[in-house]
Amino acid sequence: MISMPLLLSSSASSLPLPRPIIETRNLQLCYGTTPAIRGVSLSIQEKVVTAFIGPSGCGKSTLLRCFNRMNDLIDNVQIEGECLIGGENIYSREIDVIELRKRVGMVFQRSNPFPKSIFENIAYGCRLQGLKDRGDLYGIVERSLRGAALWDEVKDRLHESALSLSGGQQQRLCIARAIAIKPEIILMDEPASALDPIATARVEELILELKRDYTIVIVTHNMQQATRISDYTAFFYLGELVEYNETNRIFTNPEIKRTEDYVTGRFG
């Protein structure tokens, strides 16, 4: 049933052949007795954008949250199978979850800046890591804001409240905050769903810039967004991975009828 590309085969695509950075092996997750992810095995490549699509409740956000163990914060969650990041099982006992979340940053649907200044929003995480020097912090803030294409808009108001920014700017600030601690992977859970088309376009443009340095996994309900920004797309249904392939293939000629029905809006 599952259709997966031969990601490391030379015929798979004209894309360069990056190596997998995230791998799940028969991953299963239950909320209490309710299964949310049913035996998902997939490899996500380094420095590409991978989109997760599927109807509400299909397990795509749950799977995303597995990658930085955000599901640990929810009661009564049981996880089986393996989830490897950089070849290391992140559910093994030796894993330091705080360290893991430094490597795997996250941006949420609603922008959630701290009720602090723009500067502090970015410097905060670095301070927690023990960085004190104001000059160093300033350098990180500038680099992160430039990386999130926000620097020019906020460089003269770094000490104003982050809450004074527009929704789109706040979301880019959250992305800047995520990249400040130099993660390897950025997880994005519908990062543009609450933004207007112009702010959405900026965030999408930013994602395309960021993939040069980061691996990005994005959950989106917007098919067109997935076509615009992702290299690979995985379609989930009822907790199962139905089809995983190059984005172009998924949206022009999917192999599985259920994928076809979903992307053409015939169900969902």
Binding site: F251, T252, G265, R266
Partner: protein, 225 residues
Amino acid sequence: MENHFTHHQQDLAFLKDRLLLMAGHAEGSVNKAIRALMERDGVLARQIKEEDQVIDNFEIEIDELCLRQLARAPLASDLRFITVAMKISRDLERIGDEATTISRRVLELNSEAQLKPYIDIPRMARLALDMLKEALDAFVSRDSNRARLLIPRDKEVDAIHKQLQRELVSYMIENPSTITRALNLMTISKAIERIADHATNIAEEVVFNCEGLDIRHSASALQDS
């Protein structure tokens, strides 16, 4: 999994209906043009020009319907269908133009005595029309194998066209007074050959619509059939 027949699907069904109606007009025009030639019927030949206007209007209407659909950002088979519809409508419009070309030449031919008995031209026309009908049937039934099978038949039409050109050249060499009529028949032969080409294009589009596979300019894809 629930299935809905959405407004979007109704619009796609409407687009298909209009395309098939346009195809009916294009097929009808070619039929009439060949009949006008065989029966030396000037009245019928003149009707084709009016028919061409109808086909041109269909092309504009179908482009507009497709653009409206594209603005809704369709995906997968819907996206392929819409791009294919635009291409097929272009082919049908060209087929209508070829029928008009034939009818103009028929009017000129009718002003003189018939150069020769018409044997190859109706045979060619039958082949080209069969190909067109087959391509359209394959489109309606979403049958890519049927579409693939008709593509090699274009070579038969090309062969008759070449043979006819040679024959008409020999007429002209032997007797220069036949030049005008022979040139008109050459144009008609070329028009029929082009109609077969458009039928081939439609067949290739049907394969793309069904399988998402672009077989244009690909001999190996045809050999698969």
